[in-house]
């Protein structure tokens, strides 16, 4: 299984990269390569132009900016995994990243590559949706910002135009003392999640929900925020009855359906994992109670 022929470009600046994608049709960006290269090797894709953006330093890096965390699109998953800043400010992402593939793929894989590939089972898009990330996208025409919920249009389809490149992801951390949990069910360690659940929680001193985000990955074509359920939980305590009611709503999700993994199974696993994730997040939130 060898790749088909293509013209190879390795620009050193974002402007050069944008010029190439602006000028040519049938181009593909080569980021970490962990998703693209298998497809090229299997000849599932035949781009005329391959634009290797691994040599553009400005596209990688993790920094704080006006209270938010900005992660360059070409930041390696490995660097996210070992970043003290991420661990402290975005613990949901830190937890999720350890479930992404294997050490060997995280060394090269990038957060931007995963978000743009938008596999329904991927963990990083799920975190981006859970945290209402803002994506910065550049083209020769300029720069625009897109909310994650508007970026993920459908099954492996993003709002990126052919001549655009994702440059960074901005995430506003939840306040110190929040609870979080990212769990998933996969057949083997490192496999894509059949179902993943991301929970973010803020509780008040009376253990009532002040803020909550519930996100399912793997269930729908794009990560699904359970916004109705989130609304219902606001102001309530996380009793087993309340949590059970949230889990029951999984039965009504318009989930992906295929002969290997039928709709009912995704719904059922989501309903199983949601309470578990909420319990973990609640435990973590309570542990930091003294902070607020």
């Amino acid at each position: 299984m060898k790749p088909p022929p293509f013209h190879y470009h390795a620009p050193h600046t974002l402007q050069d990269a944008l010029a190439i994608v602006g000028e040519h049709d049938n181009t593909r960006l080569l980021a970490g390569g962990q998703s693209l290269m298998p497809m090229l090797n299997m000849r599932l894709l035949s781009p005329d132009h391959l634009v290797d953006i691994n040599r553009i330093p400005e596209l990688a890096g993790i920094r704080e900016d006006r209270g938010g965390i900005v992660i360059g699109a070409m930041t390696r998953q490995r660097d996210i995994e070992f970043s003290p800043l991420i661990r402290e400010r975005l613990p949901l992402l830190a937890e999720a990243i350890t479930l992404v593939g294997h050490r060997q793929t995280r060394n090269r894989g990038t957060i931007g590559g995963s978000i743009c590939h938008l596999d329904p089972s991927a963990e990083q898009p799920a975190v981006a949706m859970a945290m209402d990330a803002t994506l910065t996208v550049a083209s020769q025409r300029g720069v625009r910002e897109i909310a994650m919920r508007d970026f993920a249009l459908g099954l492996m389809t993003t709002a990126l135009d052919d001549n655009e490149i994702l440059t960074s992801i901005r995430i506003e951390p939840w306040r110190s003392g929040h609870g979080w949990a990212f769990i998933e069910y996969a057949r083997r360690h490192g496999d894509f999640a059949i179902v993943s659940v991301a929970v973010l929680l803020e509780l008040d001193a009376a253990a009532k929900v002040v803020r909550v985000a519930l996100t399912l990955g793997g269930v729908c074509p794009v990560p699904l925020r359970l916004r109705e359920a989130e609304k219902q939980l606001l102001g309530s305590a996380l009793t087993s009855a309340n949590v059970a009611k949230v889990a029951e709503q999984c039965a009504g999700i318009d989930a992906l359906d295929d002969p290997q993994v039928p709709r009912w199974y995704r719904r059922r696993v989501a309903a199983t994992l949601l309470p578990r994730a909420i319990a973990i997040a609640a435990e973590r939130a309570r542990a930091r109670d003294g902070d607020s």
Binding site: K2, F6, M37, N41, R103, R108
Partner: protein, 166 residues
């Protein structure tokens, strides 16, 4: 049209090479056939089996998922560079010694990739737990050993490397 040729310079196991490559040539094929370093193997060419794992600038990577042109300017380590240089050429790296003592290989086809991943682990973590070893190994497929003796060999190598360091 073979996608055009580029000149690349790479350092492999400490030795510098400059070679022309077709831009679509996989790093694995470049190492194996252009540099005759056939110790690294190809098992799947889609990034799951791990047999092709090498170190690129010190971190493990699937050489079937990299183009040779991407390795331009990089330092690569393969299994051939593991054993220390010694007069009689007989000495082996503690990992290799441990694999030998503990029967950590059977057909040997997946072994090189596993050794490179373990080199990285033992460099980063001095006393890994069994769980940590199994997590690293989860990126590798072995059909022969059932992983048991590989785990034992990794833990033994960690102990012996720790002891040597003291």
């Amino acid at each position: 049209m073979n996608g055009g040729e580029k000149m690349i310079s790479v350092t492999v196991n400490g030795q510098a090479f400059t070679r022309p490559v077709s831009s679509r040539r996989l790093l694995a094929d470049f190492l194996r056939h252009d540099l005759a370093l056939t110790g690294t193997h190809l098992g799947c060419e889609h990034g799951v089996c791990g047999a092709c794992t090498v170190l690129v600038d010190g971190v493990s990577a699937r050489s079937c998922l990299m183009l040779a042109v991407q390795a331009n300017g990089c330092k690569i380590n393969t299994v051939e560079g593991l054993a220390p240089d010694s007069g009689d050429g007989e000495a082996m790296h503690p990992l290799q010694e441990a694999f030998w003592s503990r029967h950590g290989l059977q057909c040997g086809f997946c072994t090189a990739g596993i050794l490179m991943s373990l080199v990285e682990l033992l460099r980063d973590v001095e006393a890994p737990t069994e769980e940590q070893v199994r997590l690293v190994l989860s990126g590798h497929l072995c059909r022969c050993t059932g992983y048991q003796n590989i785990v034992a060999a990794a833990l033994e190598a960690a102990r012996s490397m720790s002891a040597q360091a003291r």
